[in-house]
Structures are given as C-alpha cells and as structure tokens.
C-alpha cells in the first residue's frame, strides 16, 4: 500500500531517512496546500485564462455577440397558477441557503474537532466529530434537491432574466456543477473512511481529506456568491449590460469578497447553533446521566463554536455594508436610512436574542463547576449592560407621524429617539454587548481553573484595566465623534470602536492562555446545567435562522425595482419591495419548513443506529 511505501519513497527522494510522522505531516501539508491552491486560483489570480485582457482591448463593447441586457416585459415572466413567482422562489431559495450554510459549516468545525482529537489523544472529540458529520450527510442531499428545484423554478418563472444571467456567467455554471462532483466524492470518502483511516498515519490522510472537502465547499460558496453580488453591484459589463470583461471581472465585483467573508463566518456560527440544538435535544431526552453528560459536553462545544464565530460577525456585516455604501450611497441609505431601516431594528431584536441566549447558556453552565461561584457576582452587571444596550439598539429613529402627532411631540423626532436612534448610540450598544458576551465567556473558561502562575496579580490587573479602558473608549468614541463632530468622523470612529472590542477579545484569549499554564483544574460536572439553560441551545438556531432570512430580504430588497441593479429593470408584477409584515410571514414559512427538515435530518441520523430486535429473542 502506498501509505506504507510512502515513507521509503520520500526518504529516498530527500536523501535521508524520514520518520512516518514526518512523512504524513508532509503529505498532509501538501494536500492542504493543494486544497488552498484550488480555492485561491479561483479567488485571487487575475491572469487566469478566463479573464478579459483580449476583450478589453476591443474598442467596441456591445456587439451582436455581446448584446445589451434585454428589457423585460410581461411575456418574460411566468407564474404557477395564482402563486406569486417571487414568493415561490423566495421560500425555495431560502431553504436552499439554510441547508447549504449548514452543510458547508459542519465540515469546517468537524475537521478542527477531529484535529483537536488527534492533538489531545482524547477519543471523545473524534466520536463527536463523526457524529456531527453523520447529521450533515442527510442534509447534503436535501441541499442538492433544493438547489435543483431552485434552478428549475428560476428557469421556469424568470426565463429571460436567467437567459441573460447565462450570457453573463457562461461556462462558470458548469464549473459550479463540476465542483459538486468533487464535493460529493470527497464528502463520501471522508465520511465513510472514518473508521478505516482512524489511527496514526492514516488519520493524517483523513484530516487532509477534511481540509480538501472544506476547500471545495468554500469554493462552491464563493462561486455562488458571485451571482448574488452581480445582481446587486454588476461588474464586467457596461451600462447597457453587455459583457465587456472576462468571468473574472464579472465575479470580482465590489461586494463579492465582503459577502464571501460574511457568509463564510456566518455559516460557521449557524452550523454550530444547529448542531447545538441537536445536542441539546439529545441531552434533554437522555435516559442516563452518562448520556446527559456526553450531550451536555457536545452542546457546550457546539455553542462555543457558534459564539466564537458569531463575535466577529458584526464586523464582517459592517464591512459588507461599508462596501455597499462605497459602491452606491443611495443603495446604502435605502438599506439603513430609507425604506428598509426598520428591518435593522428587527435585526437588533434578533441579535439581542442571540447574545442574551448565548450569555444565558454560559451563566447557567457555570453550575457545572465549583470554581464558578467566585464570578457569579459579576453576572448581574453583564446582564444589565446587555439589556440596556439591547434597548438602545432596538430604539428606532424616524417614526411615521401624522401632522397632529408632530405638533404634540414638538418636532419630527422624539427627544429620546433622536439621540438613541442613530448609529453612534447603536455602535456603543453593540460593542458593549460583544464585550459583555466575551466577558461571560472568559469567566466561564476560568471557572474550572485555579491559576498558579506567579504573575497572576499583574495579569488579572491588566485584564481588568483592558476591559475598563476599552469600555470607556467605546463610549467616548461613540458619544464625542457621534454627536459633536461631523459625519465623516462619526462614521470613522466606529472602526476604532470595533478594534477596541477586538483588542479585548484577543488580549483576553492570549493573556488567559498564558495564565492557564500549570493551572490546577477543578472537576467539571457535565450534565449539571439546568434544563432551562439548555433551552438557550434551541433559541440560538431559531434566532440565527430567522435572522438569515431577514438579511436575505434586505439583500434582495436593496436592489429596489431592478433584477440587476442599474442594468435590468424588474418589470414583473412583484417589482415592489414587500412590506415587513409580509416579509416576516414569508420568513416564518421558510424557518418553520427548515425546522421540520432539520427534525427529519436528525431523525434519519439516529435511524441509522437503530436496530430492531429479532422477534424470536
């Protein structure tokens, strides 16, 4: 077998003997690099064969071969009976995205957990990774089914629009299909070889497969993202929609990478939340304490992943929004200051729910360890900060008022809504919420340790100082630049606020890992979290799911009455932005459908382990 001969071959090539571990680490590295190269070749290299250098030199842009975007009329739209095409595609697309986010996220953290299992030698990590993968397998085929249905729906209901998109994207759609062949192949081998490639050298081969799987999955995500961002901020075409660039120019629009980053990170948070619900459910229905303890630990790990990925997400979202503003101030203001502004209040409610649930889970989890008692006193301060910040974040700015109401109010803005309803206040609020959440997290991590390093006094003082100065800085930046300087300084100060929060998170992680060296570990009683606390694991994925749907509504609506912004007008019967109540109903349909699908997925995952006893026994 190659894996036996490989060390000999490589040693011969290198000219000196290499150990088995060195060889497989080498092969792992090589495979990792190949996976990364695959991803990067599609993402970073501008001089790939598909790009535009030849076409760009031609002075005439639109020709018979590169026609302008068509102007759509009533005959270019179809309907299924009296069902609104927009509503139909909305639900199918949203379900596809929910499932796709899940199946892309799970392999990401499964590979990491598997690797932790190898490093620590703890078999439980490996078993947990395998169990997560099992859940993901059923979800994968459902993702593909919804993807196919979505494609058929789009071609059936919006044929002319899709014809134009095919003109623009051309052969890239077949590349997408090819990537699916690769994804399926690697996925099946990765999952089914789990126990065949379990120990030693073979384990490294298995890990490399996991990395490759993630490389292909991420590439799939990036390719599909280009379709959405092209519709919002078209590139590689001229004002009439005629293709002027190569596929590279078309894909690499101003919003592509911000969306790539945002969706990549958000997928991980979402995936962690969904498997957390799986663990939480199995925990509450456990028959023995041992089972309960096992699933408690699994739920904690999943929640850890979800919250860890969630913390940088507001920054990724902010970056995406900043790029939208840079591309078109009008699009940005429509989203946040115009008709869609209320949406972001709803978003605030959802993120508040997510942060409160995550914190609630951590606080309840402190019951697992004796060492947590010393930190319980701080919880009330974090809770108050979270609630006050949440209320500020949820405060709207502009209310639709009648003339009489304006007279009673004494102005167009309520005296409280005026200052609290605008971004500076909300930036303070969100940064404080993130700092508070990280504090809960840090306290939880410390609760099962007694620190023994000699410089603990200084370390703790430094940590406290960083927290206090960061909080003061966030408030100062928001209040001073937000209310007492001009617009550009106001907007610019939010970057410094974000970095303040990041400094707290990074220094917290670094200082703690240094202080934990040689620490005395106290026993953790897994399973000892109250059942109330476990419900946070169910609140998290519901809030995440509905939030994803809400953001999808924003992404689509921000194009206003355009299929492809500035290039192809939407002339269908649905060319208006639906009101938020209707959107909420659609999102609920998608969320509840997804909930039922997930229950099916979990059920199938456990079905594989169920054995019916022989009737005669």
């Amino acid at each position: 077998m190659l894996h036996n001969r490989l060390p000999q071959i490589v040693s011969k090539m290198a000219g000196y003997p290499l150990s088995n571990n060195q060889v497989v680490t080498l092969s792992q590295t090589v495979l990792t690099l190949l996976a990364l190269l695959l991803m990067m070749s599609l993402v970073l290299t501008p001089d790939i064969a598909w790009s535009s250098s030849d076409i760009a030199k031609v002075t005439e842009t639109a020709t018979i071969d590169h026609p302008a975007a068509p102007v759509l009329g009533p005959k270019d739209y179809r309907q299924i009976g009296s069902i609104s095409s927009r509503s139909f595609v909305w639900v199918i697309a949203q379900l596809h995205l929910f499932l796709a986010a899940f199946v892309l996220a799970v392999p990401l953290f499964v590979t990491v957990i598997e690797w932790i299992g190898v490093k620590t030698g703890d078999q439980r990590y490996d078993d947990m990774a395998h169990e997560f993968m099992k859940v993901s397998m059923t979800a994968y085929s459902l993702t593909a089914l919804f993807g196919g249905t979505l494609a058929f729906s789009l071609f059936l209901l919006y044929p002319t629009f899709m014809a134009y998109m095919m003109t623009v994207f051309g052969n890239q759609v077949l590349v997408y299909a090819l990537l699916f062949f690769m994804e399926s192949g690697v996925l099946y081998v990765y999952y089914y070889s789990w126990y065949a490639l379990r120990y030693g050298n073979k384990k490294y081969v298995h890990l490399s497969l996991g990395v490759l799987l993630n490389g292909v999955g991420t590439t799939l995500l990036f390719v599909a993202n280009a379709w959405a961002t092209f519709m919002m901020a078209p590139s590689g075409v001229d004002d009439t929609g005629a293709v002027t660039g190569g596929i590279w120019d078309i894909m690499r629009g101003p919003l592509w990478n911000p969306l790539n980053l945002h969706r990549f990170v958000a997928n991980i948070a979402f995936g962690g939340a969904v498997v957390g619900a799986y663990a939480g459910y199995k925990m509450l229905s456990a028959k023995t304490m041992a089972q309960r303890a096992h699933y408690d630990w699994m739920g904690y790990t999943a929640n850890f992943i979800a919250v860890l990925a969630f913390l940088p997400l507001p920054f990724a979202g902010y970056y995406l929004m900043a790029e939208i503003y840079a591309y078109s101030q009008q699009m940005g203001i429509t989203a946040m200051g115009g008709i869609l502004a209320w949406l972001f209040i709803v978003q605030a409610v959802l993120i508040g729910t997510i942060l409160l649930s995550a914190n609630y889970y951590l606080w309840n989890g402190m019951a697992r360890c004796e060492g947590a008692k010393r930190y319980m006193g701080l919880i009330k301060y974090i809770a108050v900060t979270l609630i006050v910040s949440f209320l500020i974040w949820v405060t709207p700015h502009t209310l639709i008022l009648s003339a009489k109401e304006i007279a009673t109010l004494g102005g167009s803005h309520h005296p409280w809504l005026g200052p609290f309803g605008i971004m500076p206040a909300k930036n303070i609020a969100v940064n404080l919420m993130l700092i508070g959440t990280f504090l809960s997290f840090q306290l939880y991590r410390r609760s099962d340790k007694v620190i023994t390093v000699p410089w603990a006094g200084f370390g703790n003082a430094l940590m406290v100082a960083i927290y206090l100065v960061a909080i003061a800085n966030v408030i100062f930046l928001g209040v001073y630049y937000g209310y007492f300087t001009n617009t550009v300084y106001k907007v610019g100060s939010s970057v410094a606020q974000v970095v303040s929060t990041l400094i707290v998170i990074i220094s917290g992680v670094v200082i703690d890992s240094m202080m934990f060296k040689g620490a005395k570990i106290l026993p953790v009683k897994w399973g000892y979290i109250s059942n109330r606390g476990v419900y946070a694991l169910f609140a998290l994925p519901i809030a995440f799911t509905w939030l994803m749907a809400l953001m999808g509504y924003v992404r689509s609506s921000v194009r206003t009455h355009w299929h492809v912004y500035t290039i192809m007008k939407d002339n269908s019967v649905d060319n208006f932005i639906p009101n938020i109540g209707h959107a909420g109903n659609m999102m609920t349909i998608a969320t509840i459908s997804f909930l039922l699908l997930v229950l099916f997925i979990f059920w199938v995952a456990s079905l594989g382990d169920t054995k019916q006893a022989h009737p005669n026994k």
């Binding site: 200084f458 430094l462 100082a465 206090l468 100065v469 930046l477 550009v488 100060s493």
Partner: protein, 41 residues
C-alpha cells in the same frame, strides 16, 4: 505596594494602547486627530 504598582502599570499600558490605537485607526482613514483627540481637519 505590589498591588498598587500592578494596577498602576496595567492602567498606564491600557491607556497607552487604546490612545495610540485610536489615533492609528482614525489616521488610516484620512481622519487625523489632534493630541487632545479633537478632529484635525
């Protein structure tokens, strides 16, 4: 005494880091600040 020194040093470090970071982040966006944090433009 050691306790006071720890706290003093910690706050000095923290202030320095955040002060410098504020200036750096604002300058990077072409929004320079004066030493007293007021806008320089």
């Amino acid at each position: 005494m050691k306790v006071i020194k720890n706290w003093l040093l910690s706050f000095v470090i923290a202030f320095a880091v955040f002060y410098l970071m504020d200036h750096a982040m604002m300058s990077m966006q072409s929004l320079p600040l004066n030493a007293d944090m007021t806008p320089a433009q």
